[in-house]
């Protein structure tokens, strides 16, 4: 499959991996992440930039999704990526944008489900991992949540974290 230089693969697309998921009873191979972006009553609202990555002690952080204004002219939306500052430090600053497979558009307030395979998560080795999600909003605040998980994972709900400002509930489940 060939992409032109401007074409990007939008990452974490829900649905596709569901269709391809392994038969029931097999060890889970997919993590579903449900992200609530709160509706805020503010005079000037912009959808937050959101980064989702996986940390494992001793390993480089692996970005699995970054939602930002990737379709602005001259790639202008990348100017504010550094405001997702923990992510920028551990992973973002090493990437080239738009980054294939992980770039996505900003999401509106509401609940969004994205799915990642074990390979996408960089969780092929058994062990302890942490899913980290950080949101930074233009003229707004920033919030970071962590959800530890273990691989191999049990099917079903796998942890949640409650945001208080820029993020609502974030939960993961395995299938």
């Amino acid at each position: 499959m060939q992409f032109s230089t401007k074409a990007i693969v939008i990452g974490g697309t829900a649905g596709l991996s569901a269709a391809l998921s392994a038969p029931a009873m097999a060890a889970p191979g997919t993590m579903d992440v449900t992200v609530n972006i709160p509706r805020l009553k503010v005079a000037e609202y912009h959808r937050p930039y959101v980064a989702i990555w996986v940390e494992k002690p001793g390993a480089a952080a692996k970005t699995v999704a970054v939602w930002y204004d990737y379709d602005m002219k001259a790639n202008e939306g990348t100017k504010w990526l550094r405001d997702v500052r923990q992510w920028w430090r551990v992973s973002g600053r090493t990437l080239t944008f738009p980054a294939d497979g992980i770039t996505g558009a900003t999401r509106a307030p509401g609940t969004h489900k994205v799915s990642f395979t074990r390979a996408q998560l960089g969780a092929t080795a058994p062990g302890q991992y942490t899913l980290v999600i950080e949101a930074a909003r233009e003229v707004g605040g920033r919030e970071l949540l962590r959800i530890p998980f273990t691989w191999p994972a049990k099917a079903g709900p796998g942890g949640r974290a409650e945001g208080t400002s820029e993020l609502g509930t974030v939960s993961v489940s395995f299938r």
């Binding site: 001259a74 202008e76 990348t78 100017k79 504010w80 550094r82 500052r85 920028w88």
Partner: protein, 276 residues
Amino acid sequence: MKKTLLGFAATAALVALSAVPASAHRQWMMPSSTILSGDDVWVTVDAAVSNDLFYFEHQPMRLDAIKAWAPDGAEAAIENKATGRYRSTFDVHLTQKGTWRIASESDSLMGSYDLNGKTERLPRGTNAANLAERLPAGATNVQTSESSSRNEIFVTVGEPTTTLFQPKGKGIELVPVTHPNDLFAGEAATFQFLLDGKPASGLTVTVIPGGIRYRDQLHQIDLTTGADGKVEVTWPEPGMYWVNVTTPQPERTEGAAPPPPARRASYVTTLEVLAP
């Protein structure tokens, strides 16, 4: 050769003038960002000399000696230069990824000579290149020492790089053990300082957080470089910090003869510490 030399009495003049670098107002540069992303990246820098950090309330910093270097070592343009009553400002177009250096560096000679039975001080602005022309005919017992000052800041587009930290071997220079654009509150950072290219122990390091105007205490951190020229700082809070490194100032007793001129060097940088 007709020159107007400052004809101060030797002792008083040496004490008064040589005290200036240590007790002067604080010189600083303040970049609009130190950590940047994007494809068309600019930084704007304010440059001033002030009492409070970082408020432009006293004198603009002179931009004559300002230069910028791209991560690959090429010198880059200083654009949109302006000097106002209290501050100077300029832009740098950051056309490469990596860590950039923006610096004002100068070297001068301080010292004295004897003429007609009196000891005179070298005028301000003397340097190795113009010493001969500034010395009046008949000057004897010429004593000089070199004074080097460097005020530099670092800004990084994308991933921090260290290509620009090759020591030049002159004055005080920073060697990053911790990268100066990768600082977070609560974490310790280590920097090594060189004097004339060699790790320098006993340098005086002063760290002051910005925002002085709105607090009663300076919250100054006083450090001294160790045997390997290194200091460690644990950042108490996020914000911009002023870091000043100087060669130690000898103690002077009132009325005592001035010490022989010693190598002097000063270094200033502004560091941004992010919230974790």
